[in-house]
């Protein structure tokens, strides 16, 4: 088979992958690609319309660099057709690595993101002040486009099988997930970020980015648009070297995958966890089993860690108003440590989600699912309460507010019990599967948007249930005395504990009698 034939075949395959599949998935993809095209057109319009501004070249350089970085990460986040076209799927066919490389680059040009990028780059190329600078800008656009295309393929190669060691792959997945979460947060705060990017900050950003490889070609473009031809050529040369390096890394990764040289390293678990003995001493066997397994799952599964990490910025943002109290050394700030437990409430509404179809192991092994549900909730409570205790002790040591330590822990326990009670109900009634191998939004469970909606409602209900106890304990601690705070806190914990026990019992019984429905909800849509 000739290289041209293979390229045509692989490009056709990519097109088919993008246009086929379940209707909802295809619809989401169409939306994603339409958004990419619109972003490209919008970016091009911005480049052209803002050409007259004094710091236009700073803007051009900065956004071009951001575009390049985004391109390196996007395939890892989007999944779909790109991650399906992996090298190892071609390794049995009678073709060479070189042919495959050409075909893969060809396939990368299929899709709206590349077209959108090309539109932006064409607009950038139009920013030349003369024939030479326009030619350099056109070259910059070409090098940028090639770099992002090859870079994205390198990312896919590394993700699909280059990172065969599970720890490395899980680590990479965690990093990608956290970037995705932060990107999501940044997107929502986009308006403030644009406002924050004053000309001087743009200039500072450019001065940093120009020393990084991803900034070399964008810097060349920035200089060419200012008419600095010589230095633009130098930076463009550096950009070409960077492109060569990325290409070589990709070529080697491809060759390794194609020839099966990439090896897998298995993770060996030898040590027994220290906390296991403590849990075994206080919990019945079935609860202990579920409690320990859930703790291991949270520790070892990057999706769990990504969830926790992803909500950290939100907790930090919520805690920011307390910054002044910390600075002043106000002892009441110790009570704010109870907020650290909130993170558990955010991540507990779908406790079977990471298990997915493996829920069948629980369903087959445990005649009664109540201990499984309880163990899962207790694992979340363990994760939630540890930072609260550490935070309270740390802040008490800093401010001297030791009397507030117990009330803050009681507030956290009360709120956690309320949140976990609601979580258990939502988890059992509206579970949905979280994909194991991709962060792609296209791969979803069987219940549409209902579980997400119920999770949101669950958070609100948890807030309503816990609010009286939390407010009363906080008020008693601040306005009367820490001792009264403890008394009110104990009552508050008793109130939410009663709710928690009731919900766990009824939900466990419901789950035991509705295994088929839960198995169905935790299966991938066929």
């Amino acid at each position: 088979m000739s290289t041209v034939e293979l390229t045509r075949l692989v490009m056709g395959l990519k097109l088919r992958l993008l246009t086929s599949g379940p209707s909802l998935q295809a619809a989401l993809r169409v939306l994603g690609y339409a958004a990419a095209l619109l972003a490209g057109v919008g970016g091009a319009a911005a480049v052209v319309l803002r050409a007259d501004r004094a710091n236009a070249s700073d803007e051009l350089m900065f956004w071009l660099a951001i575009l390049s970085i985004g391109w390196l990460v996007t395939p890892l986040l989007m999944g779909g057709g790109e991650t399906t076209l992996t090298v190892d799927r071609f390794s049995l066919f009678p073709i060479t690595v070189r042919q495959l490389n050409v075909a893969m680059v060809g396939a990368s040009t299929i899709g709206a993101p590349v077209i959108g990028t090309a539109i932006v780059l064409a607009a950038i190329a139009s920013r030349g002040t003369g024939v030479v600078s326009a030619a350099i800008l056109a070259l910059c656009a070409l090098v940028s486009l090639t770099t992002v295309v090859v870079g994205s393929r390198l990312g896919i190669a590394l993700m699909s099988a280059g990172l065969r060691g599970r720890k490395a792959r899980d680590g990479a997945a965690l990093i990608v997930a956290v970037i995705a979460m932060l990107a999501g947060l940044a997107f929502q705060l986009g308006f403030f970020i644009v406002e924050w990017l004053t000309p001087s900050r743009l200039e500072t950003g450019r001065s940093i980015l120009r020393w990084l490889p991803v900034g070399w070609t964008p810097e060349a473009a920035g200089r060419a648009s200012d008419g600095q031809v010589v230095s633009a050529v130098l930076f463009l040369g550096a950009g070409v070297v960077w492109l060569g390096l990325v290409f070589e890394l990709w070529r080697r990764a491809t060759a390794q995958l194609f020839t099966g040289a990439a090896t897998a390293a298995a993770v060996v678990i030898e040590r027994r966890s220290r906390i296991e003995g403590v849990i075994a001493a206080i919990a019945p066997p079935a609860v202990e089993a579920s409690w320990m397994r859930s703790l291991r799952q949270i520790r070892r599964d990057p999706r769990e860690l990504a969830q926790l990490a992803g909500f950290m910025p939100l907790v930090v943002i919520m805690a920011l108003p307390s910054a002044d109290l910390i600075r002043e050394g106000d002892p009441r700030i110790v009570l704010a440590s109870s907020m650290l437990g909130l993170i558990v409430a955010f991540t507990s509404m779908n406790m079977f989600g990471m298990d997915g179809p493996s829920f069948a192991v629980d369903a087959l092994a445990s005649a009664d699912l109540t201990p499984v549900v309880l163990g899962k909730a207790l694992a979340r409570a363990t994760i939630g309460i540890v930072p609260v205790v550490l935070g309270a002790i740390g802040l008490a040591a800093y401010t001297g507010g030791w009397s507030f330590v117990v009330p803050s822990i009681l507030i956290a326990v009360s709120a956690l019990l309320a949140a976990l009670a609601v979580s258990v109900y939502v988890t059992v009634r509206y579970p949905f599967v979280v994909p194991e191998k991709t962060m792609s939004i296209g791969m979803q469970g069987n219940q549409g948007c209902l579980p997400g909606l119920m999770s949101l409602i669950g958070l609100l209900v948890a807030l309503v249930i816990s609010a009286p106890g939390v407010a009363a304990t906080t008020a008693a601690s601040i306005f009367v005395s820490a001792l009264l705070g403890v008394v009110v806190g104990v009552v508050s914990v008793a109130y939410t504990l009663w709710i928690f026990v009731y919900v766990v019992r009824t939900s466990g019984r419901w789950a035991s009698l509705h295994v088929p429905e839960m198995v169905e909800a935790l299966s991938f849509r066929s």
Partner: protein, 283 residues
């Protein structure tokens, strides 16, 4: 003497959209037997087993396991059965040992018993050296074996196995057969589906053949097979006795192979006989 039934299934139906996956299956599995469930791909074996084990709700029909109704009293039934499903859905981020510990403790076995049985099963199934690896790093055969170990930990009264020997090496197959024989000798019942006819024929006392969601043959091995092999009986039952290979004629004669040349004669040591022979040829 009345027969004690381990599993009784009556009028089991399941539809997936337009497809009638299981269309009125009746089964009666005597206690203490090795019972084979056969059928071509898509015949409804796994769907039937899922409904018998309580993982899939039937549209109609009843299932009794050890005299208890699976759908009226699922909690009691699950305590007495073990299951190795066809699609091995295990907790990927537990090690093999941790997984067995988890399942054993979930079944409320005490820690000492779990540890003892765990190590024995790992040893018999040849998994001791790999047991501290994450299940995610297990091969398909190892996953099958660890799943089997998990289903055996509580010594179930009825064990359901969906393709238990698929991807498992021959030595492990021998070991697994020994384990299963021991279980049946102890009075337990094993219901298993498989495509490997020789294994089914050598292991099972009774067999049922499903096709298109319905029972097409059922009974003791001797009744179903008659004078021939189980494979023949199976092909007869599902109507696939003769394959029309004419449409694949392009596969024939594509790579003609020349007959191998005769092996060269080994040089013979000089002797009287050789001398005589050479003399004969020359002559």
């Amino acid at each position: 003497m009345s027969i004690e039934w381990a599993v009784q299934v009556q009028g089991l139906h399941k539809r997936f959209g337009d497809k009638h996956a299981v269309a009125g299956v009746d089964l009666a599995v005597p206690a203490g037997t090795f019972y084979g469930l056969l059928g071509p791909n898509g015949a409804g074996k796994s769907t039937t087993l899922s409904m018998i084990t309580g993982l899939l709700r039937p549209d109609a029909g009843s299932v009794m396991v050890s005299g208890m109704d699976v759908w009226a009293d699922p909690v009691a039934v699950k305590a007495s059965i073990g299951v190795v499903p066809e699609t091995l859905l295990l907790f990927e981020r537990l090690s093999g040992r941790e997984l067995l510990d988890y399942v054993g403790r979930l079944r409320r076995l005490d820690r000492g018993t779990v540890t003892e049985r765990r190590e024995q099963l790992l040893d018999v199934l040849g998994l001791t050296d790999e047991a501290d690896k994450l299940v995610a790093d297990f091969s398909q055969g190892m996953r099958k074996k660890i799943s089997l170990a998990a289903s055996l930990l509580h010594a179930p009264r009825v064990l359901f196995l969906d393709e238990p020997f698929e991807s498992v090496d021959p030595i492990s197959v021998r070991h697994i057969r020994t384990v299963l024989d021991t279980l049946v000798d102890g009075g337990a019942t094993i219901v298993f589906s498989s495509h490997v006819m020789a294994t089914v024929q050598s292991l099972c006392d009774h067999v049922t053949i499903l096709d298109h969601g319905a029972v097409v043959a059922s009974g003791t091995m001797a009744t179903v097979c008659g004078d021939g092999s189980l494979e023949d009986a199976f092909a007869r039952a599902v109507g696939a006795e003769n394959l029309d290979a004419a449409s694949l004629s392009w596969l024939a004669g594509q790579h003609p192979v020349a007959p191998p040349p005769p092996p060269p004669s080994p040089p013979l040591p000089p002797s009287d006989s050789q001398a005589v022979g050479e003399s004969d040829v020359d002559g």
